[in-house]
Amino acid sequence: MIDPVTYMLTLIILCMVVNLGIALYGIFFRPSLVKKIIAVTILGDTANTFAIMLGYRRWLSPEKPSIPPVLLNYANATKEALAEFSARAVDPLPQALVLTAIVIGLAVTLFLVFLTLQIHRLYGTTDVREIRKLRG
């Protein structure tokens, strides 16, 4: 009997690998610039999901899931409670990094969209094959 946590984890990792493949295929082989941009965002989101998952490495067993990294009774926490907290709490650092990566991703995507719009204005198409032909 496979336990549900391992099953879900395997499924998520498998999905991420497939997503990575789809994103790289889209970036390198799809001719449309818009689809390339969509593929770049898929790649970014896959990387972010991977980073978030890393924060849950202290998920010890199905009965003892990770807890939020917030210590509620800070004032009168016992030594055992603190040890339990540090052993089980989710690592918040990857989430902070992902936040930064999302903001950067937003800026880059906006810039790419602007460039695509400008290419559409100048060439009348967003198909890289057509653009190459028009340039001659």
Binding site: G44, A47, A51, L54, L97, F111, L112, I119, L122
Partner: protein, 540 residues
């Protein structure tokens, strides 16, 4: 060294990058009040001069004490917060980059009349400097990711600056889509590093790597760490070689150089590519050195691959240079060739070599970075005069244009001779040292490869000199007034010449910096500075 100077260098390490960023972002606002056309350029000049002086202060402190400066932002002890760590290697590169950007701003001021909204151009240029100095000074691999993105976004904007020119927009999007992909792959690599090591600080990763190396050696740690480190480094290196434009990642480079505003082409070749070279060296020589889990086999393999790619890039760049008709494209392929040479030389320890050889090789790399960057700035700046005077970038239509500007032509020829590696310019001595490093290591083939690449690039440069200066003019040119700007070009040529003549002094200078940063002693220095900073910031 007085305590005041030490405090100043320490404060400036943390201050320089945020201050430039602040000044960059208020520039468009200030332009609303000061409407003069030259204002943004002069403003950028002041800010970049501040950056250059502060980078020089940091450099002189690091060079005189031989110890790295570690600055923990917000007073957090290093592995917790973001830290900047400046050792001899990146202190020199930071100083070089900031002074080169001052030169690029002077060039941009001359180019100002071609810029329709100069405030945005200079905002992007200052953003570019923030990214470049941030990449050089940072001691945190995630901060390196952020700074590479800052540099990249400014670069995309600068390349597409002439936004109604179809070529510029196309070059920018070609660079931007693959650039965004490469940085995301780097992010995945970082997450693997974080998952395995639990830290993102370069000094901390280094000290953990050395400990792991010892544990694997005595059989206490599994080989799983070797696999993880291998994967992380492989994923990280793509963005660096892509930024550097190492063959076969150079496909974006000729278009970008050709279509960007000319000062930006100089900035790309002198600074942005060097960031890629620097980060690759930092990863393979400081963070994952020979005494790390990848030191057993993979590091040697990856350096050997970089060596072969560097050689191929050098040859391809040199050969493609000869068939170009466009002067800016010719200079772009020359950059591909020189980046190949830099990687060729920095792959020195693909076989175990002695420390002296490493010092010679990296002295050569640093000297070549300076020779190439200053030479490219000189060449782009002087060919821009010819491009504007002739009204075209095509070499055949510019024949003999140099005869109207004798002083500019002299500077141009000096720049080409420097890149070609002619005595007594700096470019000759840096190439000679690369050759000597491989000979001292007993590796004859890479040494010959350096000579081959240099020899193959001579026809390309000779062709450019011949068309621009020596051949007889075929038609009348309009001509433009150059004014005092030509003395700037002469100054750059004089710097290259003087650096070549005084090379023994320069060699001693750079050699001692490399000795205190990239050798085994340098690793100990780097790790110790990190531990000391942690100790001090934890409260002693």
């Amino acid at each position: 060294m007085s305590a005041v100077a030490q405090g100043l260098a320490y404060d400036l390490t943390g201050l320089t990058v945020p201050v430039i960023a602040l000044f960059a972002f208020i520039l468009p606002l200030l332009q609303k009040f000061v409407k003069h056309r030259l204002f943004p350029g002069v403003y950028a000049m002041v800010v970049t001069l501040f950056a250059a002086v502060s980078a020089t202060t940091i450099y002189s402190h690091v060079a005189s004490t031989g110890k790295p400066i570690v600055y923990g932002f917000g007073g957090w002890p290093p592995p917790l917060g973001i830290a900047y760590e400046v050792d001899g290697f990146n202190a020199l590169l930071g100083m070089y980059a900031s002074w080169l950007i001052v030169g690029i701003v002077i060039f941009s001021l001359w180019y100002n009349r071609n810029l329709d909204e100069p405030e945005w151009y200079y905002t992007l240029l200052l953003g570019f400097e923030v990214g470049a100095l941030g990449c050089f000074y940072t001691g945190d691999v995630f901060n390196l990711f952020v700074m590479i993105e800052v540099l990249a976004v400014s670069t995309y904007g600068l390349i597409a600056y002439h936004k109604n020119n179809p070529g510029s927009v196309e070059a920018a999007i070609k660079y931007a889509i693959i650039g965004a992909t490469a940085t995301t792959i780097y992010f995945i690599g970082l997450m693997i590093i974080y998952g395995a090591y639990g830290t993102l600080n370069m000094g901390d990763i280094l000290s953990r790597n050395i400990r792991l190396f010892g544990l694997i050696e005595v059989g206490l740690a599994g080989t799983a760490f070797i696999a993880v480190a291998t994967l992380a480094v492989s994923l990280s290196l793509w963005v660096f070689t892509f930024k550097a434009g190492l063959f076969p990642n150079h496909f974006w480079l000729p278009d970008a150089y050709c279509e960007a505003p000319t000062p930006v082409s100089a900035a790309l070749s002198g600074v942005s590519e060097i960031v890629g070279v620097y980060a690759a060296i930092r990863f393979l020589y400081t963070i994952f050195p020979a005494f790390s889990p990848i030191g057993y086999a993979y590091r040697g393999v990856v350096l050997a691959v970089l060596l072969v790619l560097g050689f191929l890039g050098g040859v391809v760049g040199a050969l493609m240079m000869f068939v170009q008709r466009d002067i800016k494209r010719l200079l772009a392929y020359s950059s591909v060739s020189h980046i190949g040479l830099l990687f060729l030389a920095s792959a020195i320890s693909f076989m175990p070599v002695s420390e002296e050889v490493v010092v010679i090789a990296f002295t050569a790399v640093l000297a070549h970075i300076i020779a190439h960057g200053v030479g490219k700035l000189l060449l782009f700046a002087s060919s821009e005069i010819f491009i504007e005077a002739a009204g075209t970038k095509i070499l055949d239509d510019m024949r003999g244009i140099g005869r109207k500007y004798p002083l500019v032509s002299m500077a141009l020829i000096a720049g080409f001779l420097n890149l070609m590696g002619a005595i007594p310019f700096l470019g000759f001595f840096s190439k000679l040292l690369m050759y000597q490093a491989y000979m001292a290591a007993g590796q004859v083939l890479p040494a010959i490869a350096i000579v081959v690449v240099s020899a193959l690039s001579i026809p390309g440069y000779a062709k450019a000199i011949y068309s621009l200066v020596l051949s007889a003019p075929v038609k009348e040119f309009n001509g433009i007034r150059v004014g005092a700007y030509k003395y700037f070009l002469v100054l750059l040529a004089a710097i290259l010449l003087a650096a070549g003549i005084a090379f023994t002094h320069l060699y001693a200078c750079i050699g001692s910096l490399v000795d205190s940063s990239l050798t085994f002693k340098g690793l100990v220095n780097y790790g110790q500075a990190f531990l000391e900073a942690r100790h001090v910031l934890w409260g002693g």
